[in-house]
Symmetry: C2
Subunit: 547 residues, 2 copies
């Protein structure tokens, strides 16, 4: 194919998608709109822009330029928002440090990402002192503080003092939109933290797509110019889901809560009229059960829930408080938002509050090509039942793991980002994630949900508890092994054949594939668990494979 | 600066911004949503997708591939929407022919754009027959018809028949996002039509930014998933302002009205529940004064007005009918939307219906860097008064004129797209365009406002009236010529040198560039005017250049 390229006039501006470009509209239309930092300060978008300029100068004066890495360790603050813009706008990389990691992990991420400078809140000075001797690349430190903390030895300065000494206009340069803008680390259950990274282009496109997905809703699940935004997912965690960029582009009032303290957050929601947030289920639950929860009107509050599944129970509790709660789905690798569980505007009003819809995994936001695929990567139908791995393409997915080519290739095997989640999609486009892929048994070209098999086996009256794992099999790829703890009165009475017959009955009804009937069932006295009480399937597999 | 690039895993999908990517979300979430063509047919988004696939096959079978140009001559139809997608998705260029041009102009544009095939509505067969012998590049013709029109000689087939013979899945390829997707021609008051062109990337980004600008509004000036869309700006004119792409991405019901007949349009609005359109003032006026206008409830209808200024009178008339009317601004070269005159959500309700705001030129949509600049390209303040040329950068502006490098460079002089409009911006970011800059003289690399020169010359006590025009000059590009009508008592007393000295004094104060001092001043008895009484500068220029 010889497609016609765009012939550009030599002087034509080849507009790059840079984070600075997000500021044009809000600065033109909303220069007096407010940014609030807890009960500590408030200023206008015009002032935000001036402070971004000052920060550009201050970092430049400290030797920071394109290609350098600026690490931030802070609670959610106006300062963090300034860093979201000024650092990448310099062509530098913003490293958002997960302050909840252990000191050793923080040390690892700072060294692995080759941080040049650390901007650190006084609350984390203790952690920093522990690891400071072992930092291999950091040359400078800047103190972030809300009070009169004295400057530790070897620090270049305190943030506000540095800004105050600088002019407020900085001519941020143009550069390639594929320049890396941000980096942060994701921690799995095993192994070292893995770095993901996002370019200016990716962050701008995520901002536009999330804006579209939220704003297009007339009311439920919407984000509009009259909303007041406050993040409740930390800014170090996938750029607070990218919403600070969305809120800034929209020119809405923004509230940054500092350290998350439920009572304070509730007061901020009330005082500042917050209408839009996002958080993990735990935070929502903490807020709803805080001592002052009943005194705060939350009936204008919209909240996206992500990180883990929004349960029906929590959703019903929130909806009863008048909260417009709905699930979102994504991960560190996906920048993060892939789907939102918004209620269709034409949904039956008699079915309100549509808790079943709000708690699904969600529908793809603009530009997201999200599919469920079988083991051969063939796309599965939107039938609401066929389970498959969730694979995805979108313009803002990490293109790999930092300095980890092997994991990068696994992530992108076959040109699709593998979420390692298993689910199905229905006729209205709602994805429902049901399993992690490591809990799925791939046998005879089909995928059997171990969770579903466990549910079925658990319905047998003699079964106390059960765990199903997949074991390697030369002929079938994997075969399910069911470990079953019988109820005391069933021991010696219920047989393996009886359990298998019980499962086979469900297969004959079409509930699971006939390949799912376990040819191996073992009665055991107890199931191995992790320190937090979860079934330790990894250990079960290791014991069976090595033994 | 050595910015850190994104390191991509070899298998990572480098997601290009292609028009086909706009379809992912609506096909997942709204497969049953309706597309309506006047009173002739209606089908679902799923069927739209199948027909796009069939059209891909049909065009391929006719030899159309990447780099070819497919011209369409049709009224607004579902077929046109299918071409909006299938043609560029093949890597071919969609040439949207302005069917209102003269046959000679249509011939010029088809030959100049090197069209390979023409899809032509039966209503334009007469025009086509006139110019057919002189078409230099067109090899094929396809008939578009709603009835049993017989196939003219030499036609490859009729659209529906061609589609019916093809399979409904087509594997549209990936390619460079900077591939040209569309071309069309803009006609000024003089000279040949000029071709502008847009890439896939540009159309996707325009779609996302317009979606954001409209959807972020909570109510007034909004476009949400519960809207019903119908274009009333022809699809050949700047892709109907790009709104068919926005509507498709949003997955809303779409209505295509065919040929614009006011009574039919009003019936369609009522029958299909249309809530969102866009048109020029003339069309709105025709609708509001149509015989059946008073029988149709337009109180749920939102309309962007562009093309020429929305007058206070028309806005008031529309608002009295309950229509949410507001201005938009842009031009063929700008893809087109730059600004929208939406009412801020926090506007004083006592000032409703905010006609003064709705009739302004508007505020920039996301990513648009719009400035007013002086003759030295210095940015002017947002003070609501300082007039300057409107220059703009956005990711979707034509990068030049087709095969016209000279005009392309003029369009992009200094790296900014010159709108040739003059206006001012206020503290809330509203642009108000006041004038065309054709009254500006380009000389010595600078732009001199003839309006300002006229104002200066007019301050001389002996001057009754004056007009300043630019005449071509080999050395300077243009040079100003001042035509001056003296007051009766100044005739024979005031000299040319005196007028020049008068202007030079202002130049020395820095009010205008020294290049602005006209080296040619002519005393005349009267100034030529147009039939509506405006200074006829075109005639003045022509008389001087040809004479």
């Amino acid at each position: 194919m010889s497609a016609k390229p765009i012939d550009a006039a030599p002087s034509a501006y080849a507009y790059p998608l840079l984070i600075k470009q997000l500021l044009h509209t809000p600065l033109a239309t909303s220069p007096e709109q407010e940014i609030v930092y807890a009960d500590k300060c408030r200023y206008s978008y015009a002032e935000l822009n001036r402070r971004i300029g000052r920060l550009g100068h201050a970092l430049s004066a400290l030797g920071i330029a394109g290609g350098h890495t600026v690490a931030v360790m802070d609670w959610d603050s106006h300062r963090y928002l300034e860093c979201f813009f000024a650092v990448p706008m310099l062509g530098a990389v913003l490293l958002t440090v997960n302050v909840r990691l252990s000191p050793e992990q923080i040390l690892y991420t700072l060294n692995h990402a080759e941080a040049d400078i650390v901007l650190v809140n006084r609350d984390f000075l203790g952690v920093l002192e522990q690891i400071r001797p072992e930092l291999t690349t950091v040359r400078q430190f800047v103190l972030l503080t809300d009070d009169e903390t004295s400057l530790p030895a070897g620090f270049a300065g305190e943030y506000e003092n540095l800004l105050a000494a600088c002019p407020d206009r900085f001519d941020f340069p143009d550069f390639d939109e594929n320049t890396r803008a941000t980096t942060f680390y994701t921690t799995g259950t095993t192994g070292l933290p893995k770095g993901v990274y996002f370019s200016h282009r990716q962050l701008v496109l995520h901002t536009l797509a999330v804006t579209g997905a939220l704003a297009l809703m007339p009311q439920q699940g919407s984000f509009h110019r009259d909303d007041v935004y406050m993040p409740l997912t930390p800014m170090f965690h996938v750029h607070a889901w990218g919403l600070p960029y969305v809120a800034t582009l929209a020119g809405v009032k923004q509230v940054y809560p500092g350290r998350y303290v439920p009572e304070t957050i509730l007061k901020l929601i009330e005082r500042e009229g917050v209408t839009f947030s996002h958080c993990v289920p735990t935070i929502l639950n903490m807020l709803l059960t805080a001592p002052n929860a009943s005194q705060v009107d939350l009936s204008r509050w919209k909240v996206i829930i992500g990180g883990s599944a929004l349960t029906t129970g929590l959703a019903e509790l929130a909806v009863r408080k008048g909260i417009d709660v709905f699930a979102g789905y994504g991960m560190s690798e996906t920048g993060p938002i892939l789907t939102l569980a918004q209620v269709p505007p034409d949904a039956d009003p008699d079915a309100a509050p549509h808790v079943a819809t709000r708690t699904r995994t969600g529908r793809p936001i603009p530009l997201v090509d999200l599919r469920t695929v079988d083991a051969e990567m063939a796309t599965l139908p939107h039938d609401g039942s066929s389970p498959g791995e969730v694979v995805v393409r979108a313009p803002w997915l990490t293109q790999g793991y930092l300095k980890n080519p092997e994991a990068s290739e696994q992530l992108w095997a076959g040109g699709w980002l593998h979420t390692q989640d298993v689910g199905h999609i229905d006729a209205d486009g709602y994805l429902q994630v049901t399993d992690r892929i490591k809990d799925v048994i791939k046998t005879g070209g089909e995928w059997i949900s171990s969770l579903e098999l466990e549910d079925i086996i658990g319905r047998h009256p003699g079964v106390a508890e059960t765990a199903v794992i997949g074991l390697p099999d030369k002929e079938w790829g994997e075969r399910p092994l069911a470990l079953v703890v019988l109820k005391p009165d069933a021991v010696g009475k219920v047989t393996i054949q009886e359990i298998q017959a019980h499962v086979r009955a469900f297969a004959e009804q079409g509930r699971i594939s006939r390949y799912g009937v376990p040819d191996r069932v073992e009665f055991v006295e107890a199931l191995p668990r992790t320190s937090v009480g979860k079934l330790n399937k990894r250990l079960m597999r290791e014991q069976r494979v090595s033994g």
